[in-house]
């Protein structure tokens, strides 16, 4: 018994000074003022780091003092670190924040403040994994939410800001001042100028883009998209009309909710209408004026470029091609009686079933045979070589050509045009002896079975009066005093010619 009492007494006597000393130290740090604290040596801090933490005085240490003790801090101590302490860079240039392995243990305001201080950008973060300051930038292995200036990013993986640009491997969404994008891969850019390798959707005001790949965006009062590989972008503009841009080029669309305008470079813009598609393909650039009801309205094509009309009925398909030799060409498309156009180089009048083409331009269609499409390779119908006017009149279904009439109002000399009534005929308006002659050229290699559709139409010009009438591939020109007849291969009348005379 005596031994037990003496043992207990020994323990009490031995530990009492320590307990008293501890209480004295803690009290000391509770009472210490900032000046005295900031006079402590590094060893003193190291020996008393827990007391300083407990007295919540970590924040009172200078950034330089705490710099070499951050790894000694407990979670509680880390949470006491201030913006200035975290943003401080030691003699080796390492910012204190980089000495913290888990930034989620830092005070949110201190952490975001430090990052803002380092990057000189307003930064808000949440749910960081693997944060690291690099130079004036910052990297995250992952971050649940990151806002830098006006750009907010959600669920970002491998994200960084390098002092000028934001980059990330993936994010569920990114919201900039002017736009929002979802499910983005390999983002590179800042605010409203950026590129992505892939994104599901981009939205800016009333413009929406889907199926995004390898594209660079510039967003302002318009959206400019530069595609870095051959891609197909689905664009829904402010009239809720859908267009598709394809190619390795550029498309710009404004935010007009009335009649938006597109500008394309080196690509194809397609509008899918009910029963037909329209496309403008630009090998240079084209301005596409649209109508919120009728789609394409007028196309200002800087050569070379082509307008494609593709119908469910292939026989109606056609192409108007502006070759590189042409000037800037304005092609308008009339789809309603109410639509009237004045300033144009070419007018496709789908309402009146007429096509008017001025200047240097090509017009192509699929060849027909037995009233059906004979080939899926387009054939030339007309090539305008100089500044003349060609008017094509079609049947009510826009399939069969009724007439072609050429007008040379400027009385130009030279090679004016080539018309291709069928694969047997071509008619050239060309200069012979300082005047324009209408010269028909025949394809002598054709067999009867190879000839295309039995065409029935009239061909005329304003400078040579007799009209050439082509019926069943027989061309007849009769001016009353003479008659020119051109027969197709193996025509039955050839035998009559041999017999007679």
């Amino acid at each position: 018994m005596t031994r037990k009492i003496s043992g207990l007494l020994f323990i009490i006597l031995f530990s009492l000074p320590l307990t008293i000393a501890y209480h004295i130290d803690q009290q000391f740090f509770n009472d210490i003022n900032t000046n005295d604290l900031q006079k402590m040596s590094s060893d003193d801090i190291s020996h008393n780091i827990q007391n300083i933490e407990k007295s919540v005085k970590i924040k009172d240490l200078t950034p330089e003092q705490i710099s070499s003790h951050i790894d000694e801090l407990s979670d509680d101590g880390l949470n006491q670190l201030t913006k200035d302490q975290l943003s401080f860079k030691d003699s080796s240039g390492t910012p204190n924040i980089n000495k913290v392995s888990d930034w989620n243990k830092l005070d949110k305001n201190a952490k975001d403040g430090a990052l803002s201080e380092i990057t000189k950008k307003s930064i808000v973060t949440d749910g960081i994994t693997g944060g690291k300051v690099v130079g004036n930038g910052v990297e995250f292995d992952a971050i649940q939410f990151w806002k830098i200036d006006k750009t907010s990013i959600n669920n970002c993986i491998k994200c960084s800001y390098d002092g000028s640009k934001i980059k990330f491997q993936h994010a569920d969404s990114i919201l900039t001042n002017e736009s929002a994008s979802t499910n983005i891969d390999n983002f590179d850019g800042y605010e409203d100028v950026f590129s992505v390798e892939k994104a599901d959707t981009f939205i800016s005001d009333c413009i929406r883009v889907d199926n995004i790949k390898d594209s660079e965006f510039r967003v302002s009062n318009q959206v400019e998209i530069t595609t870095k590989s051959n891609v197909n972008l689905k664009i829904t503009d402010c009239t809720f009309n859908e267009y598709q841009f394809s190619g390795k080029g550029k498309v710009v669309v404004d935010k007009s909710s009335d009649n938006p305008q597109y500008v394309i470079e080196n690509g194809t813009l397609t509008k899918i209408e009910d029963g037909y598609n329209e496309s403008i393909e630009s090998n240079n650039s084209a301005v596409v004026e649209t109508d919120n009801v009728f789609g394409f309205k007028c196309l200002t094509i800087t050569p070379a470029g082509s307008y494609f009309y593709s119908d469910r009925d292939l026989r109606k398909d056609f192409v108007v091609n502006i070759p590189k030799e042409s000037k800037v060409y304005r092609l308008c498309l009339r789809k309603s009686k109410a639509q009237l156009f004045k300033d144009y180089n070419g007018l496709v009048d789908l309402f009146e079933k007429k096509i008017e083409l001025n200047g240097i331009v090509n017009y192509l269609r699929y060849p027909l045979k037995n009233n059906q499409t004979a080939s899926l390779l387009s054939s030339f119908v007309y090539s305008g070589l100089r500044d003349i006017n060609a008017l094509f009149s079609y049947d009510n279904n826009l399939i069969f050509l009724n007439s072609i009439f050429l007008t040379n109002k400027n009385k130009i000399n030279g090679n004016l045009s080539i018309v291709y009534p069928s694969n047997y005929y071509s008619i050239k308006e060309m200069e012979i002896g300082n005047e324009i002659h209408s010269v028909i050229q025949l394809n002598l290699n054709l067999k009867k079975e190879d000839t295309a559709q039995n065409i029935n139409y009239e061909y005329g010009t304003d400078y040579f009066k007799p009209i050439a009438r082509i019926n069943g591939n027989v061309l007849i020109q009769d001016n009353g005093k003479n008659r020119l007849t051109i027969l197709p291969p193996e025509h039955e009348k050839i035998n009559d010619v041999w017999k007679d005379g």
Binding site: S438, V439, N445, A468, Q477, N482, T485, K493, I494
Partner: protein, 244 residues
């Protein structure tokens, strides 16, 4: 046989008789016209007309042959049904015969074939006339609106002590061969530059009918001139073009 059948038989018989009568009358007129040539009398004009009509017939034959073939003596030609048609273009080379060549061939044709028509003046001899003739020497002049055929043929015809002497005969055919030839040359010239082509502007300025068609990898122009009638039919001229 009932009455209706009898009436039908009579009507059919009447129609048959009427047709036979019409044919007999037509045939009679036809042969009377054929034999209604001017009777041959021993007079200068009559003999001149006789020889000139032979020249005309032979000249017409020569012009028809020239028109059908594009030349009289075929050289490089397209084989067409019943005849050849001379190539005015072969490959990219123009082969338009000079007009002098056509004149020469026409005159050769006339010299060679005139006697077939004259039958060595058998018609004269059968009248009891004496005929003494020299060798025929022809000359042809192709003009814009006609073709002049001239034959130097020394001829003495004697009957009952009288003698008529002739040196030269001629016939002028209203065939616009030079006009057509110029057109053909123009066609060839155009096609040498632009193969397989038809200048509808140029052809519109010639008052002829032109038919163009492909035949055996070649191109044929058939020109018909209703202002140049031979035996009442528009003159026909053909040329072939081959572009190799």
């Amino acid at each position: 046989m009932d009455k209706k059948a009898q009436i039908a038989f009579i009507i059919i018989a009447a129609i048959f008789i009427a047709i036979v009568a019409a044919l007999v009358i037509y045939a009679a007129n036809h042969f009377r016209n054929k034999n209604s040539a001017e009777p041959l009398v021993f007079e200068k004009t009559s003999i001149e007309n006789y020889v000139s009509s032979c020249i005309k017939k032979t000249a017409e034959d020569s012009l028809r042959l020239l028109g059908r073939q594009g030349i009289i003596v075929l050289d490089s030609y397209l084989q067409a049904p019943n005849s050849g048609v001379e190539y005015y273009i072969y490959g990219s080379r123009s082969r338009v015969p000079p007009i002098e060549k056509l004149q020469s061939q026409l005159s050769d044709y006339l010299s060679l074939n005139i006697n077939a028509c004259l039958r060595d003046f058998e018609d004269f001899r059968s009248q009891g006339w004496d005929v003494e003739k020299g060798s025929a020497n022809s000359k042809v002049q192709i003009n814009q609106n006609d073709v002049l055929f001239e034959v130097e043929l020394p001829l003495k015809v004697a009957s009952q002590g009288s003698q008529l002497n002739f040196e030269k005969f001629s016939s002028l055919l209203n065939v616009r061969l030079k006009y057509i030839y110029d057109l053909a040359a123009k066609i060839a010239d155009l096609n040498a530059k632009i193969p397989a082509s038809v200048d509808r502007t140029d052809l519109g300025s010639y008052d002829v009918n032109v038919t163009v068609f492909p035949y055996k990898d070649s191109m044929v122009y058939d020109i018909r001139d209703s202002k140049s009638l031979i035996m009442g039919k528009p003159y026909a001229f053909r040329l072939a073009l081959n572009f190799g």
